[in-house]
Subunit: 240 residues, 2 copies
């Protein structure tokens, strides 16, 4: 037995080990990048994090072994993605907990514009976040499709709305239909869970919004502005 055995709480080693996986700046940067829900290659992540390929390879090994990432080998590429929605939620929760960095001034114009694009609209693994996510969530709430006053759940009218909008909801799995996800830019809850994922997928599939850049940021298209206005009464000004 190499580890010491002092504390009597059987959960402590596991908890520390899990946190330890996230407690490295390079690995944290990878997890945040992977929050876009897509699969990245090891090389892309290495360049993104600014470390040698060999270094990143070791990091990926740990993250996969720890169950945070799933991998898929294709030819000479190693694709990794977040293991599941629960991992994504965990990372997002941790990121939201980070002390609100007030008035941090961006170091460059590029970073500044990228930051504000992220604040306007982005995906959070599989659902919409940023001001866009907030606007949609608020609109659903105001129209009585979503209840936030007694918890966080769709109403009967909400179920009907999703159905008539042609957005199918898979109610089979164990994943909650609606769940609140705390936004780290707006610090307000927005719609996640099965409904949030379906809505985001629909928005990307039908061209309501498109991904910009190589990361999480998304932009609402003119088509999307019209659809959001028609279906939910969202003013275009609320998205800027």
């Amino acid at each position: 037995m190499t580890t010491r055995d002092r504390t009597h709480d059987p959960q402590a080693p596991g908890l520390a080990a899990l946190a330890g996986l996230i407690a490295d700046e390079t690995r944290a940067a990878c997890l945040l990048a992977l929050l876009d829900g897509r699969a990245w290659t090891a090389g892309e992540l290495a360049r993104h994090a600014g470390v040698a390929a060999s270094t990143l390879s070791e990091h990926l090994g740990k993250l996969v072994a720890g169950g945070l990432l799933s991998e898929e080998r294709q030819g000479r590429h190693r694709y990794v993605r977040l293991a599941d929605a629960r991992v994504a939620q965990l990372v997002e929760d941790l990121a939201a907990q980070v002390s609100p960095r007030v008035s941090r001034r961006p170091r460059s114009l590029r970073e500044s514009s990228a930051g504000s694009a992220m604040a306007r609209g982005r995906t959070c693994y599989d659902h919409l976040a940023g001001r866009l996510g907030i606007a949609v969530t608020d609109a659903l709430t105001v129209r009585g499709l979503l209840r936030q006053d007694t918890g966080f759940a769709l109403t009967e009218a909400g179920l009907t709305w999703f159905d008539s909008a042609g957005i199918g909801l898979d109610r089979k799995g164990r994943r909650p239909l609606a769940r609140a996800c705390l936004d780290w830019t707006e610090r307000r809850p927005h719609l996640a869970g099965v409904a949030g994922a379906a809505l985001c997928r629909h928005a990307l599939d039908t061209g309501w919004c498109v991904r910009i850049g190589s990361e999480r940021a998304v932009k609402v298209t003119p088509t999307g502005e019209r659809a959001l206005s028609d279906l939910l009464g969202i003013e275009a000004s609320a998205l800027r």
Copy 2:
């Protein structure tokens, strides 16, 4: 500037730093112990974790500086507790994420009975968890007081029930009235949030259950069995 500056994600350092606070076995043991919602002295925690007082003092300094703990000095004592419900939720979420340790055999009879007592009923910061928490949540759901099929929220009938049971709900703050907390023993959601906290407080105040041992575990009293049966139709057998 001493830290390196490679990744372009401004969140990565903060995320890694936060996870780093939890990524130590001793600090993890402290956080888990503090999940009972009470204030512990530094000495108690040092004995609990099995390290020297000087070591633990440094750990507490980091946890307080990182905003995970709040402290209160009284005479020669230093009391610490979890900073707020959000920190508690974070720790519980992380603990629940830890790979389900199947068939881990307890090392001693004491640990074994302590474990099963925790599985029967315990508090999770400020609300009920374990089989007790699950039983209450299920009963609320079956009786139409709580909806879990479209999210997680109290119903109108649920609000009335809390009112008629004499359990006041503070709907002022920003904290959600009802929220799902995933149980690490049962791996099922149970009631947290304002309603969960109020119910737990009421249960302890009126003697429905009492704390056993020095930690999170609670036991249902005969009075409590009657109350739970009368108010929610919970069979005593569901609590064993």
